[in-house]
Symmetry: C2
Subunit: 356 residues, 2 copies
């Protein structure tokens, strides 16, 4: 078990985007220093961090110096090269652990892990070529979604098969990457549970949020989610089972489809999650501080929800709405990104819609 | 009137302590960059700021470069040398304005200003030597408090006169500095109003907080304060009158004594204020973001209080209580200071005691 980190210690964060930025602020609030490892200059996290090591994930010397300069390592994204993890882990502990990363980095491994826990997932089959795709279609049927096993996010690396005739085009979209065919899940809506676990095994889950995606990117998360008391309880128990099984330390986002037959696990993200941003204005301790507390070996904080909130992502030109939003009484959270490219997450807004 | 600042603009902050630190975080949340002007290295604000100009207030070149590198200037403390303000203001706007600074920098000017608005203050008299002190005692009586007119904070630069016999010792304590004798105010408790005003003249006041000092240093602030509805309303109206009279832009802390004869203004602080730290866990928009919104010419945010909170300062060795406090469910806010010297503010804790 990790000894608990003392105030003044330095937390290393792999990745300098908005999640790293909000993790840095939370770390500072608890008296920690932060060092961001990020190849890009002027990254969002560096604006609010003590140190920024600007280097690539293939720069073993830089990774080693980074690891030596910090007390514990965490990350804001899961697609970290294995070689980089090897170099880092030889020097300092990384939370969440390698198994959680390996599980979530590969959609096939992830689904097999979830099934092994007795949890429901979409039907799935491994796809590496035309023959295996044909076999997968025969097993699962259409409609179905072909996804790369690795490196997918925000709907990228996915192709939909409305009928078996779409097989060749879908496979071409994978560009030779190992893939997984997932059966279509008839769900009414998607919810996610943001769950935290510390090294002592204590678990704290935030109330499930209800997610709406537009164009494959999260658009809004609303709490409370439309769930029966039983479903809400199931959702939290599913998340806890996953965290315990992975001996997980940190915050995880668990996405669930709500169906007539119960909750189906869509995917897990071994990090703070866009669908947990509402906690910044709905709870005393938000998901970012909860993650820092967990990886620092501190007691988890009070994540009781005190407000109904709708979180709305500001994507690309949505940022132009800021003057109006500033008038509205909503809470604004911007990421300090210079250019509002299409599809780029520029910030988010939390609208408190009432007390619990 | 200031044009409203666009996201991506840089806010210059004079002073790198905990108030500058929390202002920087709030500025980042709204997409602003920050530059801290602070002679000391490794200062709390620099940990979460984009830039730190490490230079003294007598370094006119550095002040000029600082002013040129930012879009607007604000400060976390009021005792800024006039010469520095002259150098800065020649280049970029400073909020709050010079008049607010000049008024609050000098206890005599401050009291005369408040009386000029028809507000109640302690009885007071100007003291520069033995003769004027004797005259002041004759006018005001004892018990009374002799205070330096300038540069006092956290109870420093003050001497209590229980009887006229204490006059010589008290005057010696002033070390030749111009002073003011203040009559004793028989108050039941002290409250403060954290008030904000933007360039359009919009005003937003947080609910008054009740302050308890120990050894001249703020120990706790509790909301709601013990006030009748009439007193709470008076407190807010007094604060608004002061802000309007100064054409003030930013957040101000207004300390009030509660007496049987009404509210008596103790002092004003033209900046975010220790007694407003509870807003971080009691309101959607805290005092730090409210200040940034005001000086940026943005609409003020929603400062409605949604929780009852007690803020407790962690002073000196209080920091050793952090492991226990982390267990308690309270919200921790640490300042990243390395050494826990006696009397040094190391952090604070907000304990949410219930919904409003």
């Amino acid at each position: 078990m990790t000894e608990s980190l003392k105030t003044g210690a330095t937390i290393g964060i792999l990745g300098g985007g908005q999640l790293g930025r909000m993790l840095s602020v939370a770390a500072a609030r608890l008296g920690f220093k932060t060092c961001i490892f990020e190849p890009a200059g002027d990254c969002p996290a560096s604006h609010v961090a003590n140190f920024h090591m600007k280097a690539g994930y293939d720069d073993t010397d830089a990774l080693k110096r980074f690891a030596e300069s910090v007390d514990v390592i965490t990350f804001e994204f899961e697609n970290i090269p294995t070689s980089a993890l090897d170099a880092l882990e030889a020097v300092k502990p990384i939370h969440p652990n390698r198994r959680a990363l390996a599980t979530s980095q590969d959609r096939l491994t992830e689904k097999e892990f979830l099934r092994g826990l007795g949890l429901q997932t979409a039907h799935f089959a491994d796809v590496s070529d035309t023959a295996s795709l044909d076999a997968a279609i025969a097993k699962i049927g259409t409609p179905a979604i072909l996804k790369t096993r690795r490196m997918g996010y925000d709907g990228k690396g996915q192709a939909r098969l409305s009928s078996p005739q779409d097989a060749a085009d879908a496979l071409a979209d994978m560009a030779g990457a190992p893939a997984i065919l997932e059966g279509f899940v008839s769900f009414t809506h998607e919810v996610s549970v943001i769950a935290a676990r510390n090294p002592e095994g204590a678990i704290a889950c935030y109330d499930p949020g209800e997610n709406v995606h537009v164009g494959g990117i999260l658009s809004t998360t609303t709490v409370p989610a439309k769930l029966t008391a039983g479903q809400a309880s199931d959702a939290v128990l599913i998340a806890a089972r996953i965290l315990n099984a992975l001996d997980y330390v940190g915050v995880m986002g668990v996405e669930l489809f709500v169906t007539a037959e119960g909750l189906i696990v869509n995917e897990i993200a071994p990090r703070v999650h866009n669908s947990g941003h509402w906690t910044q204005n709905g709870c005393t301790i938000d998901q970012f501080e909860q993650h820092i507390r967990a990886i620092a070996g501190w007691p988890l904080g009070d994540g009781t929800r005190f407000a109904n909130v709708t979180m709305e992502n500001l994507i690309g030109d949505d940022i132009a709405q800021i003057p109006d939003i500033a008038q509205s009484g909503a809470a604004i959270h911007l990421y300090g990104k210079a250019d509002a490219k299409p599809g780029r997450k520029m910030g988010h807004v939390n609208r408190v819609t009432g007390p619990v």
